[in-house]
Amino acid sequence: MQIQKNTFLKGIIDGIPICLGYLSVSFAFGIFSVESGLSILEAVLISMTNVTSAGQLAAVPIITGGGAFLELAATQLVINLRYALMSVSLSQKLHPNVRLFDRFIISFVNTDEVFAVASSNTGEVKRNYLYGLILTPYLGWASGTLLGAVAGNILPAIVISSLGVAIYAMFVAIVVPEAKKRSCTAMCVVFAIALSCVFKYTPLLCHIPQGFVIIICAVAASALFAAVMPIPQPESEDI
């Protein structure tokens, strides 16, 4: 059976691969959260209201460590700033039947992957398709967190310890292929890592809260390389 383009069902189906990917990432997040001291319900609530992997991972230590609200807000702002660009880009692709009210809902789940799939459609995307496309990934994200948080409470310590690297391994899997493709990205990444290590292992600097360290290192590295090695225009329009 041929699934009709731009329908709710097509959106659901296009969202399935994202959903499966999210199950494992959010599973790792669930484990990480309960290991950090959050309850199962708290972990799931974070996933259901934030829907962003890196942002949530950075938020957990700030929450459990009793960090400042400003630190949390600033961290989320920097880590999630890329979504602003994606939302700008997505706004250019919306069919006229996507009303203002729909934009408020769709933007809530405008993740990297949802954005990537929505963008890969030729022509404009309609509202029913978008609702389908955000539904399956959202369910995967929430239920994966629940499973991970529960598993974190029942699995033996040595297994939990091993699963602790899962989310970082996924980050490696996102960064390395892109760094392999573009040498400027590789250099930016190495520079950011060097800065991060300086903050971790230098006396005095090591007392700066983790959230701020992420902001400082990421903004400094990105701004420096955006100035020195800007990305060629035609490519960057696809981001």
Partner: protein, 101 residues
């Protein structure tokens, strides 16, 4: 669950939502500024790298096992394996090393 948790939740979710919602609702034109576009391109990779290193080396019982997991992740990621594959083998490497230690 403390009242504080809900304030944290509201802060994180509120900021994240505003970042996504405001441009989709307000912006109609495309960004042209090359510096800004490049900055936004670099940000996710810089953020993920900073969050991973050195934190990954403290994510397991022993630093040595984390190094093994990291090495496996690097190798498989370099060979363009999927996120799930990279994560699974990285975890397996750590588990095996933890059992050996």
């Amino acid at each position: 669950m403390t009242p504080n948790f809900f304030l944290y939740l509201l802060t994180a979710a509120g900021v994240t939502y505003l970042i996504r919602m405001l441009p989709l609702v307000l912006v109609k034109k495309k960004i042209q500024n090359r510096f800004l576009l490049s900055f936004l391109y670099y940000i996710p990779y810089a953020v993920l790298s900073v969050m991973t290193i050195p934190a990954i080396f403290y994510a397991t019982e022993h630093t040595l096992t984390a190094v093994a997991g990291f090495a496996v992740a690097l190798l498989l990621a370099y060979r363009q394996k999927s996120l799930v594959t990279v994560a699974a083998f990285s975890c397996a490497a750590v588990l095996i090393c933890e059992l050996l230690l």
